[in-house]
Symmetry: T
C-alpha cells in the first residue's frame, strides 16, 4: 500500500501570461509554480484568452492544470 | 521577465451557499476567500445546485473558480 | 450570517491511483486527503485514465474533485 | 441490501419560470414539484434562458434536474 | 402566482427511430408522446446514432428532450 | 408504421448508490428500476460522485440514464 | 416559402453587467440591445463571471446569446 | 501580409426554420444569409430543436454558425 | 473468457458527404466503410457542417464514429 | 444606470489565419478587427484547426471570440 | 529531429466489454489491443454504458482511447 | 454516386510532441502522418498538455484529429 500512496497527485489551476505567445505563457506559469513546488509532473491547457489594449494583444493568458506528486502529507498543504 | 512574473494567477475552486439566492451565494464565497487572500481578481461560475428540505430550497450552492494574482512565492502556498 | 459562513466549501483536485481498479483509486485519493484535511464532504469523478506497461494496465488513475467545509480562515490555506 | 434500496434516486427535468429572476424561477419549479412528490432531495441548474417580449424579458426560464429518493416501487412511477 | 404555476414545464427524454432518416425519427417520437401527453411544447435533439445491419443503417435513432406544460398536479405524474 | 412505434424508447435518469463501488451502484439502480419497468434496454453513465463521512467514502453514487422500450401508451406513463 | 423566410433568426453574443446581480446584468444587456434592434425574441445564458475589486464583486457579468427575427435583408446587417 | 489579411473569416450565428426537416432548415438560413453576404464559406450545426403545436412539429429549427471571408474592412460591419 | 474477446469493438471516425442532406451523408459514409469492413455495428453522429459555394450548400458533411466488432486480431489492423 | 450602460460588451466570432502558427493567427484576426472596431477588449480561443496541403500545414486557423465595449447604440450595429 | 519523431503517438478508440464490471471491461480491451500492437502507452475512458437483458446488466461496455507510440512508418498503418 | 464516394474522409487521432512549442508539435505529427498517408486534408486540435521534468516543460503534446480523403477501399485500411 505504501507505494500507492506515492502515486497520489494534486492538480492546481494557474493562469500564465506572456506578451510573446501561448508557449511562453505556459512556460511562465510552470516556472512560477516550480519555485515553490518541487515535484511538478505535467500540465494540461484548459483555456486560452487575453486582454486587448489599443488594438493589440496585451497578454496571452493560458489557464492550466498543473499536476504534482504528493510525497508526504505536508505536500498536500503546499501549492 | 520580472514583470511577467507578476502576471501569474492561481484559481481556487469554492462553493458558496446562501438561502437567499444565487447572487448572495457568490458574495458569501468571495467574502470568505477575501479573509485570507488579498489579491482576489475575478470569479467564474461553474455550477449552480442545492439541497431541498421539506419541499423548500435549503441553500443555493454555487461552485466558483476564484482567481487571484500571485505576487510572491509564498502566495502560491496560500489558498 | 455566521451560519452561512460555515457553508463555504473548497474543492481540491486530486488524482488517485491503484493497480486494482477505479474504486480503489478513488479510495486511495480520499485516504491521502484525509490525513491532512478533517472535514472532507464529497468527491466527484472528472477523468479516468492510466498508463499501460508491457501490455498491461499499470495504474488506474482517477481525477477527482474533493470538497470540504471551511470552518475557519486557516482552513482556507490548508489543502 | 435493504438499506441500499433506499438510496436510489430519480431525477426529473423541469423548467421553472418567473418574471422576477433566476432565483424565483427555481423556487417556482421546486414548489410545483413538491405538490406531488414528497421526497425532493436536491436540484441542479442545467440551462438559463427566456423569451423577450416588446424588448423586455418576459420570463426567466431555468431548466433544472430535481432529484428525489425512491422509497418504494410506486414512487418510481410518480414524477 | 397562479399564472406562474402554469409556466412550469417537464422534459422527458425519448429516443425516436426510423429507417427513413433523422426527421422521421423525430416525428415518430413526437407522435408517440402525443398519444398520452396533450401539452407538448418543444423538442431538443441530444444525440443521433443508430445500428448498422448487414452493412446498412437499420434505424436512425434520435435522442430528444420533449417539453410540455404542466397544467395541474396530475400532469406531473404523467409522462 | 406499426413496427416503428415499437422502437420508441424512454430514458429515465436515476442515481444508484453502493458503499462497495461503482459497479454495484449501477447494479442497484438497475435492480430497483426493474421492479417496476419490464423492458429495460440499456444504461449510460452520466456522473460518478459520492459523500465522504469521517474521512471514508460513504456511498459511490452513479447517475445513469436508463432506457426502455415503450410498448403501449400506458408504458409512457410508467417510469 | 415566403413565410419560412420570416422565421430566420440571428443570434448576437453580448455581455451584460451589473453590480446588483445576475438578473439585472441580463436585463441591462437586453435593454441595451433593444435600443437598436426591434425584434428581440429570446436570450440564453452562456457564462457568468465578474471582476473582484478590493475583495468585493465589482460587476456580475453575464454572457448571453440574444436572438431576434430577421424581417428583411437590412435586418441582417443590424446588430 | 496582405494575403493573410484575406484569410480572416467572420462567423455569424443564425437559426433557420422549416416545417419540412433539418436539411431544409439549414438551406433556408443559408439562402437568407446569401441575400446580404456574398462570400459565404461554410456552416456548422450547433443545435437542433423546434416547437410542437397540436402534437405535431411546427418547425425544425437549426442553430448554425455561418462563416464568410472578410475581403475589406466594410465587410466586417456587414452581417 | 473467449466469449468476452468477441465483444471488443473498434470505432473509426469518418466524414460522409452528400449534396442531398444529412441522412444521405451518413449513408454514404456507412456504404464506403462497408466495402472494407464486414462487421459494422453502429454509428454515432459527432458533427454536422459543410462548405457553401456560390451561396448554396455544396455538401452536407457529417462526422461519424462507426463501431465494428473485432473478431480476430487481424481485424484490429483493418479499418 | 448610465454607467452600467457603458459596461455592455458585444462578442463577435472571427477565424484568424497564419502559416506561421497559432500566435500569429490570433494576432492577424485582432489586427483585422481593429481596423473597424475601436474598443476591442479581450479575445478567447474557441478552436484551432487548419488545412493541410501537400503534406504540410497550409494555415493555422484559430476561431476566436473578440469582445468590445459598446459605447453608444451605433456601436451595436458595428462589427 | 529524429528523437521527436519517436514521440508521435496514435490513439485508437475501442469498446471493451465484461459482465463483471468497469475495471474488467477496460482490461479486456487493453488485452485485445495488446495482441496486435506492441507499444501501448496509456488509455483514457470516454464513455461507460451497457445493455440490460431480463432486468440485469448484460455487459459493462467502456469506450476507451488507447494511445501507442509510433516507432516506424509501418506502425502508422497498424492499429 | 461515384463522385460522392470520393468525398468520404477518415480522421485518425495523433499526438504530436515537441520541446519547442505547440506549433512545432502539430507540425511533427503532420509530418509523421504524411510519410504514410498521401491525402492529408486538415487537422483539428483536441488537447494540449505535456510532461514537466525538473521543473521544465519536457514536451508540448498536442492531440490532433487528422483528416484525409479516402480515394479507394485500400485507403480505408491505411492509417
Amino acid at each position: 500500500m505504501a507505494e500507492h500512496r506515492d502515486h497520489t497527485y494534486k492538480i492546481i489551476e494557474l493562469v500564465g501570461s506572456s506578451p510573446d505567445g501561448v508557449d511562453q505563457a505556459i512556460r511562465n506559469a510552470i516556472e512560477r509554480a516550480g519555485e515553490t513546488l518541487k515535484n511538478l509532473d505535467w500540465f494540461e491547457v484548459r483555456e486560452i484568452r487575453g486582454p486587448i489594449q489599443n488594438g493589440e494583444i496585451g497578454w496571452f493568458q493560458v489557464k492550466l492544470g498543473v499536476g504534482f506528486r504528493i510525497l508526504d502529507p505536508a505536500d498536500l498543504e503546499n501549492d
